[in-house]
Amino acid sequence: MARSFVISVILILGAISYCGQSCAKDINFEASVDSNIISIGESARLALTFYGTQDISVPELNNIDGFEARYIGPSKVMSIVNGRVSNSVTHNYTLLPLKTGDFELGPLRFDYRGDTYISNNIRIKVIEGPREKGEGPLGTASRPDLSSRIFLTMSLGKTGAYINEPIPVTIKLYINKLAARDIQFPVFSQEGFSKADFEEPKQYREALGGLVYDCIEFDTRIFGTKVGGFKVGPAEVTCSLVLRRSGKRARTPFEEDFFGGGFDESYFDDFFSHYERYPMTLKSKESAVDIAALPSEGAPGGFSGSIGDFQFVLGVSQKDVRAGDPITLKMSIYGNGNFNTISAPKLEDAKGFKVYDPQVKTEDNHRVFEQVIIPESEDILEIPKINFSFFNPRTGRYETISRGPMPITVQKAPEAHERPKIVELPHRAARGAGLERREPLGRDIIYIKDSIGRLKKGGPLYKNKGFLIIQLVPLLALLAVFITRRRAERLTKDVRYARLLRAPKAARRGIKKARRCLREEKPADFYDTIFTTLRSYLGDRFHLPTGGITRNIIDETLKAMRLDEEALKKLRELFDECDLARYASSRMSRERMNNSMANLESVISYFERAKL
């Protein structure tokens, strides 16, 4: 036993080693593409297949002229034909054409475990893609590669600026007849600058070099934080190109959607086409900008770094106060500039006032400071001058805007027993000023109601019989829905049941028609109707093929059911009468017809009552 096991193991190992040797010798390397002609905006599937093995790592494809390759994944095949085992592995890539022209891929070489494998050549023709209706030669001539179909630009509003001066940055993504998805906000190198958030992107169309592009514009502002020459960018945007796998049709799928190319028979091509997303990163060129320091001469005393072209508006909450009452100064700065650098305008001389820290609120193009000041004595006659200094980069000079002095009337502070006057203050300022309101409040019941409201008579609703009975209605409706649905389902699924239900209705119709024929004394029609009715009824009632029902059915099928012999006799007579009428309808008297009519009704009535 042990001996035979050892021999088996040796044989298996030998077989494996033989297979391994033979694989190394018999590996074939083949490259193929699913289409030799593709257009810009499409992609092709490149397959590198190694026959005779499944143990080949992923070949790296770098620097293929005119293409960018992206690895998709492997697929393995193993087959046994006439006892012979063959296997292969295919590494699949997506080829994205970068420019038009005729290209030759290969022969591709691949070194693996000391062996070199060489593939066949592949020729691929990259075309520009079909022209759109009405498109001129300029359009086709000026779009030779992908980089002219989708690209990114970055531009700065200024090439030179002062430190902290806002510099507008505009980044534009141009797309021509391609479908781009998952577009991310741009990122760019900004060493030496601080950056504001991007505004909401704008979308519009722009003509460039004779072509119309879909343009997405991203706007932001940067502020120089160091003096010197700096480079900004390159900006980078990541997105995914949606590409159609190359096939019969050489159009991108979104041409119709975006550019109104019309609707044609190629709709069905689109329907059966395959699309894939190709992630890509677009880069713009970089831009240079020089940042200069603010001039050291002429800076006013109150200057605290504000840069821009501003206006200053001052508002005062009240001008007639008592000593100790708060006054709120509302100082609004409007204009263009770096609002982050703006600090609150300063009182030239705050003597005689208690001054609290201002509260700041910044909006799109203005910043508001609310500051509480409290005159300490009735001797104060005015709010002193308030200065706001800033550097104006437009003029290249420091500027100061002054508001005030503003005359006010300050009365004597109230005596201790007098109630202090409370004005509405910003919460924090009021708390700081120690003016929280504390007063004893009286309490009593709230006054009576003026109207009687909704009058109610009788007991609660749950004791109302009508209300309780009405609950049954929706329940019964649901039951009806359920029964109807079950019946409809059974009628669809159970043909026998459906025919059984149909049988008496059809028979009633037949009897009605036969009576009419009897009244009109049309024996041929009468017996024809009787025959049709009988055949249809018996077929539906006993789930038999209607076409094959004749007199014989009585002996073949119905007799075995142990039915009433009298009924079967009548049925036989009916079939006989029908046969006779078919050949000699003139012999059928009124009396015979009446008899047949009675027999038909009697037979159908019997079958309806009989438990089968």
Binding site: R443, D444, I445, I446, Y447, I448, K449, D450, S451, I452, G453, R454, L455, K456, K457, G458, P460, L461, Y462, F467, Q471, P474, L475, A477, L478, V481, F482, R485
Partner: protein, 267 residues
């Protein structure tokens, strides 16, 4: 040109003949409107007594409306106010509680009831319900009992509607239906449970308020019986049963005793 009616009568005349039901409805509405008008007149009269400080007369007028078999949240609210002004705290709380059954979300009522309760000299201990029951009670107490019944009815219709959709189109929208039916079913079950508790309290426990300033609660229903505890004006109790002039009551803490009927008022 007008086309004559088929029986040759003026259409206006024939309406009542053809639609006796309509006639009955109109009559019923007219009667209800007259009743409501009388009640409103009485209510305004009572309010004028209240405004002139004649609180006893105001209470008589308010009670006259109640005696006519009509009630409203505002009526009880005003009655409670009049009793409060007379210093009858127990009765004031009783009427405010009656009002709360009908207008549970009224902010004025809440405030008055809270204030009146705060004036009780020996306030009763309030037993808190367990977490989920308290939360459920808090939510459903926002409805009056009829409002809650209608809410449950709407949920019931919704559930049946969803069940019908499930029968007809269930295979196509199974997931969405399951979520909807689950949510509606949960709400229905929770509301129904709360409703059942409310009905049980109303029908079997019968909440009441002590209106006497101080009431002896005895072990047995007769005068010389030993006093178990004393109930105070404004205390909330439940009436378990009644025997002649006595009521068997239960306090929220579970203690039961007998008290004279005239010392309490049933909400």
């Amino acid at each position: 040109m007008k086309r004559p009616s088929s029986r040759g009568r003026c259409p206006k005349q024939s309406i009542w003949r053809v639609n006796p039901l309509l006639y009955l409805i109109v009559c019923a509405c007219a009667f209800a409107a007259t009743e409501s008008k009388d009640a409103a007149a009485l209510f305004y009269k009572a309010n004028s007594y209240y405004e002139s400080g004649e609180f006893l007369k105001a209470i008589d007028a308010y009670n006259e409306i109640s005696r006519q078999g009509q009630e409203s949240g505002n009526l009880y609210y005003n009655t409670g106010g009049a009793y409060f002004k007379l210093g009858e705290l127990g009765r004031a709380i009783l009427y405010y509680e009656k009002a709360r059954v009908l207008i549970p979300r009224d902010a004025d009522l809440k405030s008055n009831l809270e204030y009146a309760a705060s004036l009780i000299e020996e306030p009763q201990e309030v037993l808190q319900r367990p977490g989920w029951a308290g939360l459920l009670g808090g939510l459903t107490n926002q409805f009056d009992i009829d409002g809650l019944a209608v809410f449950i009815w709407v949920l019931y219709l919704l559930l049946l509607g969803l069940a019908a959709i499930n029968i007809l189109y269930g295979a196509r929208i199974k997931k969405a239906l399951t979520i909807l039916i689950g949510a509606a079913g949960l709400m229905f079950a929770a509301s129904s449970a709360s409703f059942a508790v409310r009905v049980y309290e109303k029908e079997f426990l019968r909440p009441a308020i002590v209106i006497a300033k101080e009431a002896d609660c005895a072990f047995e229903p007769f005068e010389r019986s030993t006093v178990y505890f004393k109930a105070h004006s404004g205390d909330k109790i439940f009436v378990l049963s009644q025997k002649k002039d006595w009521s068997r009551i239960r306090r929220p803490d579970g203690k039961t005793a007998w008290v004279r009927n005239d010392a309490i008022g049933i909400i």
